[in-house]
Symmetry: C2
Subunit: 363 residues, 2 copies
């Protein structure tokens, strides 16, 4: 079948281990031996069998990235960045789509695929604080997002509350009084929806605006379609609105669509801000202001933290990293003239924190 080290060894007249040493760039090899082996490798077209090596070394040099779905632009961009960052560390990325299914998310942590890779970067959507115990795993893990806090793992998250507050305050500073929010999850206390909605409320308070439940639009999944539906539903119900804070950009695009369909001009009639700062919003008509939560740094940090954990179980505590974020003003808030480049409206500092887990690890 395939050429093995044994074949190469025979051809080069050396031991298998010497071939292995050549392949692995072991330094103490006589140049002529190395050359002889290399020639044999070339002549036979030998390729190292990664599976065998993985078995022997107990490493795969692969990591898993688990996200809800790639068709959501935010996660597609995240995956792109994680793959690139991993690449720089010679790691291969395996992507799991959980599709917003709780079962699939549990599977990511416990299922049979788990052991295919050396570690996991996990952005849960369904699992929550109540499932904290599930995150007490015996493999390197980095958690993304804001569904779960204080798990025994490194965590990269964002300035959700502060950024949402800044976005809301900004809308108010434009003179808007009826600021709607699109994408809320009623009853939740943690998660992007809850935190950003909390920031929204704080922003209203800071601006001296009343909170009106009528202005809160629910949307379970954060797609373009749900953003459009939620916005449409509110407008069709006669809710008066002069600004919209969409909790992510996909919904902002959907909301824009719904507003347009009802002959409401953005930003003249309704100002609009999204969240995530995906590439789309730089090219929509009009361009949409958004919160850049530091996506580039999120991906890079997640990979770095994971690599550190894989390298060895260090003594350091679990870290919570929050990248710096920015509020980017574009046409949808009238911050820039039509066709003018974007403009940074606000900047929020990030930070790194050493945290302790909520779990009782004394057991």
């Amino acid at each position: 079948m395939a050429v093995t080290m044994h074949d190469v060894a025979v051809r080069a007249g050396v031991s298998i281990k010497t071939v292995s040493n050549v392949v692995n760039a072991y330094p103490h090899i006589r140049p002529e031996t190395r050359q002889r082996v290399q020639e044999a490798i070339d002549e036979l077209g030998y390729r190292l069998n990664t599976t065998a090596r993985n078995l022997r070394t107990r490493r795969t040099d692969m990591i898993t990235l688990a996200v809800p779905e790639l068709s959501l632009p935010y996660f597609a961009e995240l995956a792109d960045r994680v793959i690139r960052a991993a690449e720089e560390q010679s790691l291969t990325v395996l992507i799991e789509q959980t599709g917003g299914s709780r079962e699939r998310e549990v599977d990511v942590l416990t299922g049979k695929r788990r052991q295919l890779t050396d570690g996991l970067i996990f952005s849960p959507l369904e699992l929550s604080q109540a499932d904290l115990a599930l995150f007490d795993v015996d493999f390197p893990l980095v958690i993304l997002g804001e569904r779960v806090f204080d798990a025994p793992a490194d965590h990269v998250t964002m300035n959700n509350v502060a950024a949402a507050r800044a976005a809301t305050v900004h809308l108010a500073s434009l003179g808007r009084r009826r600021i709607a929010v699109v994408g809320a999850h009623e009853g939740e206390e943690l998660g992007s929806a809850a935190l950003r909605t909390e920031g929204y409320k704080q922003g209203l308070a800071e601006a001296g605006l009343p909170f009106d439940p009528e202005l809160v639009g629910e949307a379970g999944l954060w797609h373009r379609s749900t953003g459009s539906e939620t916005m449409g539903r509110m407008l069709d119900a006669g809710v008066q609105v002069d600004a919209v804070f969409a909790l992510n950009d996909a919904m902002a695009l959907g909301a824009l669509h719904a507003l347009h369909a009802r002959n409401l001009d953005v930003p003249r009639d309704v100002a609009l801000i999204g969240f995530d700062d995906i590439d789309d919003v730089r090219y929509s008509v009009p361009t949409i202001s958004s919160v850049d939560p530091g996506s580039a740094q999120i991906a890079r940090t997640a990979v770095d933290l994971l690599v550190e954990r894989i390298a060895g179980p260090s003594e350091r505590g679990y870290r919570r990293v929050v990248p710096a974020s920015r509020l980017v003003g574009r046409e949808s808030t009238g911050d820039v003239a039509e066709g003018a480049p974007e403009q940074i409206v606000a900047e929020l500092e990030g930070g790194v924190e050493e945290v302790s887990t909520l779990l009782d690890k004394t057991a």
Copy 2:
């Protein structure tokens, strides 16, 4: 360290092989033996070591999907679909981003990661017909796209010429006389750009319109940004345009942006059609007409063909599969009123063809 079959075997008082048989659902096992083993497995928390199994069985149950980049929505959607289709066959997908680098594309076919999986679904962007020999590989391969034809591999492609022709004819049928194309690649004879441009020319001819080189906009990479730049460049150069055929949807979105920035209304002043029918174009303002090349079927077929090849080197020839495609009319061509649902303007049949390779396989 980890629990192995050996540990389970000892605990259950059976041989290792019997444990293996239980795990692999071998039928001839006494119920009580099975139960004893199962209990031992549960008690010890045993998990099958996939790497060891992979080594022994020479299978990984993983496949690779190699695409230019996930931040391009078309490929993100493709990846999403391929992962789902693979899932149904219990396969795990590893994604490689080639980033439009020739070197990376060669690596996908020959590099060290190649052997991590049982097969490859490859959508090349840089490799071309001149590299045909590279595709003569000894592992299951399915080629996507239109860079390479008649390689010794299964191939899933699209109705590029016919669909582009239909799109162009449709624009002409709306009374448009100055139809620009965005995204052309000068000098190429194969590839999406060349084929769709060819369809564009045929469409012009069919409509009795002259071909004007001024109306051909070059764009190397097919991103929103390049679509916007190309469109902007043409308009700023004073090219008169009353319709635009963007060779993919990302560029259509960019072009829309550029048109809007110059106060040109779509569809009143300029009609616009894209290609790919990604989710974005259903929510842009206005919604954009596009060619749906049968994306759903492409992903599914690619996985099916690959699975078939992996199952066993069958005697059947290499297939070229072209899914049925459709021209979907939306607001950007005035095919539907504002806010009205999309409408199928044209349908093109697909087909399956048994092809022979251009390579001399007699060697």
